[in-house]
């Protein structure tokens, strides 16, 4: 059965209300960024010991969500699972917007935003991951655009090639993002596992996001989606979560086992606000509870429970991004191993970071921008399928659902 795609009506009051709210958030965020760019970054919660904060956390989070969302369209384009063709277009569109959100988060975090749009192009440093990665990001957005164009113009013969390219490029994007932190001499950053760990957490968060997005969109627009399509994604999600947990165990086991990293490892796991985020947000709520839900026969077979588990995973991976960035900065740099450094005139030792109101608005502003673009896109382009059903052989009496008489 051929899938038909159409634009949504986009005339309801809820639609316009949603657009208005998102636009308002975008404007508020833009205003905050403008204010910070004039006043200085001291208006945020960052300081000389913690020069990166929640905007960078959100940037890498969005980038992760983007690559993960692309996996869903890859199910159709790369692995030939035609039952996922209905979701391919929204997945690619979402992936594109999420990466734009990542770039927006980075752009609004710069000390000199005016120079950010000129200098990196004129004086690119090919040895810097901050030059290599934006090239990967922009390339990724372009590939998504071409892929979406191919899908929108029904050039399905291009889909396998473009989907494969997009997926391979996404692995590169992710590994590069992980390397920003992993290829670094800081105690709680340095890790060759981080690029791979990033990819798996991206897959988990992206899959979870698509589950929530698909169920929400189809419900709100009163379109039918087969339960089995969502449930299969739930099974895929639980496999991703197991791999995420494995990487968490591997990284922390290394730090605790090797004497050199033990003190830092203990700080990471048991001291500070971030350890609550790690255990409560990532391990318990982000991995264990969703795994219990998804592996349980009853809850794992219920779309509502799978959506709930997915929401937890979306939050959990955000927590994972937070504990990648912040503990490495709040922990004291290991200048004199075995010695305690006490500042006489400046901050030394373990420090802290707290999110400022301004940063919250900046984050909401980016969310508002891509949310607005996503909703507008649903009305502007033929992204939504009329329905999402799994075609089953007509001779199969038991599970047929299409209503046609068996022949």
């Amino acid at each position: 059965m051929e899938t038909r795609f159409e634009k949504i009506d986009g005339t309801s009051a809820q639609y316009y209300l949603a657009l208005s709210v998102l636009a308002a958030l975008a404007v508020a965020g833009f205003a905050c960024t403008l204010w910070v760019s004039q006043q200085g970054l001291w208006r945020t919660g960052m300081n000389n010991r913690v020069p990166w904060g929640v905007q960078i956390v959100m940037a890498i989070y969005y980038i992760g969500l983007s690559a993960g969302s692309l996996v869903i369209s890859g199910l159709y384009g790369v692995f030939g699972k035609v039952e996922y063709k209905p979701f391919a277009r929204i997945a690619v569109y979402a992936a594109m917007l999420l990466l734009i959100a990542g770039l927006l988060s980075i752009a609004t975090d710069q000390g000199r935003i005016d120079r950010f749009f000129v200098q990196p192009f004129v004086h690119l440093n090919p040895r810097s991951l901050f030059s290599i990665n934006p090239a990967l990001y922009v390339g990724y957005i372009l590939i998504c655009m071409v892929y979406l164009w191919a899908l929108l113009t029904e050039r399905s013969w291009l889909a396998p090639g473009l989907a494969t390219l997009a997926l391979a490029w996404a692995v590169g994007v992710h590994s590069g993002t992980g390397a920003i932190f992993g290829f670094n001499a800081r105690m709680l950053y340095e890790s060759p596992l981080l690029p791979a760990s990033f990819v798996v957490a991206a897959m988990a968060s992206g899959t979870a996001l698509m589950i929530v997005l698909i169920v929400a969109l189809f419900k709100l627009t009163k379109r039918h989606v087969d339960d089995d399509l969502v449930l299969w994604l739930g099974r895929f999600l639980r496999a991703c979560l197991l791999v995420v947990l494995y990487f968490m165990v591997a990284e922390n086991a290394f730090r605790l086992y090797v004497v050199q990293g033990r003190e830092a490892g203990l700080y990471y796991l048991f001291e500070g606000f971030h350890s609550t985020v790690f255990w409560g947000g990532l391990i318990f709520l982000g991995c264990c509870v969703p795994l219990l839900i998804l592996f349980n026969r009853r809850t794992g077979g219920s779309v509502r429970w799978v959506v709930f588990a997915s929401v937890l995973v979306i939050g959990g991976v955000l927590c994972e991004r937070y504990v990648i960035v912040l503990p490495g900065l709040t922990y004291s740099p290991d200048l004199f191993p075995g010695m305690q450094v006490v500042g006489l005139r400046s901050q030394e030792g373990i420090t802290s970071y707290s999110i400022s109101v301004v940063e919250v608005f900046q984050v909401l502003g980016v969310l508002g921008t891509i949310g607005f673009l996503f909703l507008w896109g649903l009305k502007a382009f033929r992204l939504m399928p009329t329905e999402a059903r799994i075609d089953r052989p007509q001779a199969n009496f038991g599970r047929g659902f299409s209503g046609q008489a068996a022949r």
Binding site: N47, N48, W52, Q110, G111, Q119, L124, A185, L335
Partner: protein, 245 residues
């Protein structure tokens, strides 16, 4: 081949060729160097700090640096900018006589991670070994601060009205900075401000000189003393060394 095909091929070829040329230019562009003389490029500036001479409660070098280089002072320590700072070390294992005061500043590494990660090559190593930031180019991404294992780099979070030395510009907010080893003074054959201030009070704990010259004072002191550098194991090849660390 008809006209349409020819135009398509030519256009595609032009685009491809242009992109390759641009990529080639970018990839072969090296970090900018100062217009240093040929003689200067053979020099390798380094610093020696004698902690045995350094007085524990003295701060003349810290103040001299601020005055000379317009290093902004903010009362809130979170945003206070400092190119050189003094810290106290306590031995956590309780060994006696190990507690000491240490001066920390940019190590002007020969393999600077900050220059490697700067996306716009605003941070670069000069031919004479000084690692310096171009404050007109810096976009304020703070990646250099993340990359520096010595926590030596600072960021201008806040604008400051302090401008004690009108001969030099002051930085706007939004850029990263670090000790320049008073490159502007070295280029005039003068001592850095911190060294001069320490010499003025007859302590002489700081010494800056040419590490490539075996007859320079710094080379002679290093060769006749046991000197240490901070975290040499990281492979950054820091050029600030310490006696008595």
């Amino acid at each position: 081949m008809d006209r349409r095909d020819f135009l398509k091929t030519a256009g595609g070829g032009l685009l491809l060729g242009g992109s390759c040329a641009y990529a080639f230019r970018l990839l072969t562009a090296s970090g900018t160097a100062t217009p240093a003389t040929a003689a200067a490029s053979k020099r390798r500036w380094g610093m020696l700090i004698d902690l045995n001479k350094c007085r524990p409660d003295c701060t003349v070098c810290l103040e001299a640096c601020r005055e000379e280089n317009n290093v902004a002072h903010h009362t809130d320590e979170r945003w206070d900018v400092h190119w050189i700072r003094k810290v106290a070390l306590h031995d956590t294992s309780g060994r006696p006589g190990v507690d000491k005061r240490v001066l920390l500043l940019c190590n002007h590494c020969d393999e600077p991670p900050c220059a490697q990660v700067c996306p716009v090559q605003a941070t670069y190593k000069r031919d004479d070994g000084i690692v310096i930031v171009d404050p007109h180019r810096c976009i304020g991404c703070r990646y250099c601060m993340i990359a520096c294992p010595y926590d030596a780099r600072v960021f201008d979070f806040k604008e400051s009205d302090d401008w004690p030395n009108k001969d030099l510009p002051k930085r706007s907010h939004g850029v990263a900075e670090a000790c320049t080893l008073c490159a502007h003074r070295l280029d005039r054959s003068e001592k850095p401000a911190c060294v001069e201030a320490c010499d003025k009070i007859n302590v002489g704990a700081l010494l800056v000189g040419d590490l490539n010259d075996p007859d320079s004072e710094i080379s002679r002191v290093i060769s006749s003393n046991s000197v240490k550098r901070i975290r040499e194991d990281l492979g950054t090849k820091p050029k600030v060394c310490y006696i008595g660390l």
